[in-house]
Symmetry: C2
Subunit: 372 residues, 2 copies
């Protein structure tokens, strides 16, 4: 692992500047969402609560930040892009609500997922049994996510109120609808299918492609969208919008690879889930793929014994983890993540020198510096 | 029941003209959907299949027809509105795919629903057990419906290719996102909740409001959208777009009331489901509400014994049906449907005399003449 391809470390001062910039924009995005007049149409109260459930818990708003900074980085007025930043946060949220049903996850940001929350609600309010309550919870989560998807498009529509030309808004809507959504959902579907597919029949490139779609596509759209608003139809001979999009996508994919590493090596209390739970769930991370492809016959058997096996004991999991470490897969994936980060850095270096470019560098460091 | 408020009967000639007009436009809409270039992005193959599943079975395309005729009825060029007609068919389809999960329906247009189809697929391909396969089927159906929602917005975006001004396209997107979706999903959520709510605590107006949102809102949007494209920004002092929207919404609500009547009195073989199955499922139709509100104490007890009771025998159902008939609720609901139709007719009569106005009259007759 080459030291110079690690994510750049921020100075204390840079970090303070970045965190202030992040918090300011995060506040703007959430103020916009909480004050959105159309929310009066989110009815009945259960649907309103479900739609705002994850938003009340507030994410770090790193996607909206990428959008706003990309707008500024091409000389645009960030405040004009605010509704699009809000759209990206809502778009991300609907994918989480539906993904949590599919992954049968019960916790999100330390609290019940939407479907779990409303299953509990149905037991209390209607006295339903466990199966019926789970079904009711899923129904609320499906409908709330559906409503949020439309909300994201509505928020893009709000851009005309801030003087963004209608032609541009239509372009943003079309790219969200024809490129972002299909890519992201393909990534989710492949993730489900790979976990059910016999080991080794899924190739390294397929796994990388899946996680680029699942994580990179939304960040690519966010940065491209912000830059496109910022350019406001001006010619873009250097393809700044495309380059910012690729920069953000590379960082997103690198983040996902790091996240997979942390899932196997991180600190359980900070991780919010047991170390190795990805293995028990059969999650086909790139690490697992590489370990199966390159490990010894004995290592492979140790991994397969626990992979996707709900009955795997802690001992089985420890054994599988040890086999993965022995295979060298962790180092290889770390190396790949670093190479993606180098490519991202190079793209950023080619942009005009603006405060936003500096903040985008800090954004990448912040995204990638998680040490659980 | 006043004879003059029955839906108008078409002459044989009118019927032939109408059916030819319907079939021509239906073909255009489905050709547009089947040839849509962006469909190459619907991946992997399971998602592509799921997205096109109901579309391959072809609905009657009555919603797209309402849109296209409304465009022509205000003097617009129907061919310009074709992408919006396709958008409406796809929008309707995603709501069906998700609704079928929520209602646990296994059949749609005589074939397996998307979630049932892919549960069967998962059993074969991955050898999953019943619970896991059902979960996989739901995952595919959730993701396919999500993809279809975005597709509907993408199709609205296609309008710019046919010379519709971008400002108008943004207006259509915003109304779909901020008004149509929340209304329709509110209707679906209330439908689920009312079925779980103790008898009589749901009021007649609430039930009517629920089904207006669930069925009327989409037709209202379709007609308004077609007229708005047809008007192309020209002043609309007589609010033709709004009147066409209300006309279609009234027909949709009347259709739903008729559908509920047929569900209790129709011919089982044409209905595609057992007569009275709505009662066993606890569906809170307006008929059931009125029967509970107005029936004798004994009739009420006979209805409540079967309502939402999966263990209800055929005898119990027959008894509940007899009680509903005794209560006079069927006649009252038929009367209400006829009054809505009269209001719709009056709205239509006020429109300029065009071939499309005549066809919209036939459209209403066709929609409402179902005799199962």
């Amino acid at each position: 692992m080459a030291a110079d391809s690690r994510p750049k470390t921020m100075t204390v001062e840079e970090q303070a500047v970045f965190l202030a910039a992040l918090e300011e924009r995060r506040q703007q995005v959430y103020d916009y969402l909480n004050g959105w007049p159309g929310a009066a149409g989110f009815k009945p109260p259960e649907i309103h609560d479900a739609i705002y459930s994850y938003l009340r818990r507030r994410g770090k708003a790193l996607r909206p930040l990428a959008l706003l900074l990309s707008c500024g980085a091409v000389g645009g007025d960030e405040s004009q892009a605010l509704p699009a930043a809000a759209a990206i946060e809502v778009f991300h949220t609907w994918t989480l609500v539906h993904d949590d049903i599919i992954d049968r996850d019960d916790l999100r940001r330390g609290q019940p997922t939407v479907h779990a929350q409303f299953a509990a609600h149905a037991r209390e309010r209607y006295g339903l049994d466990a199966d019926q309550a789970a079904h009711y919870g899923r129904a609320v989560a499906i409908l709330a996510g559906d409503s949020q998807q439309s909300w994201a498009f509505a928020l893009l529509g709000d851009l005309v109120n801030r003087g963004v030309r209608a032609e541009l808004v239509v372009e943003l809507v079309r790219r969200m609808a024809t490129s972002l959504t299909p890519q992201l959902l393909e990534g989710e579907m492949l993730d489900v299918q790979f976990a059910l597919t016999p080991d080794n029949s899924v190739g390294e490139q397929q796994v990388l492609d899946m996680l680029t779609k699942k994580t990179g596509a939304l960040l690519e759209y966010a940065a491209w969208c912000g830059a496109t608003i910022g350019l406001a139809g001006r010619p873009d001979p250097e393809d700044l919008a495309g380059r910012l999009g690729r920069f953000a996508a590379l960082c997103g994919t690198a983040f996902q690879l790091r996240d997979d590493i942390l899932g196997l090596t991180g600190d359980e209390s900070k991780l919010g889930k047991p170390v190795g739970s990805d293995i028990r769930e059969g999650k086909r991370t790139l690490i697992v793929h590489m370990a199966l492809a390159n490990g010894s016959k004995r290592d492979k058997a140790r991994i397969i014994g626990a992979l996707g096996n709900p009955a795997a004991t802690t001992g089985d999991l420890d054994d599988a983890l040890a086999a993965i470490k022995d295979s060298g897969a962790l180092g290889k994936v770390e190396e790949l993540a670093n190479s993606l980060i180098s490519q991202a850095d190079a793209l950023l270096d080619g942009l005009p020198d603006t405060p936003q470019r500096g903040l985008l560098g800090s954004w990448a460091s912040f995204l990638l510096a998680r040490q659980y």
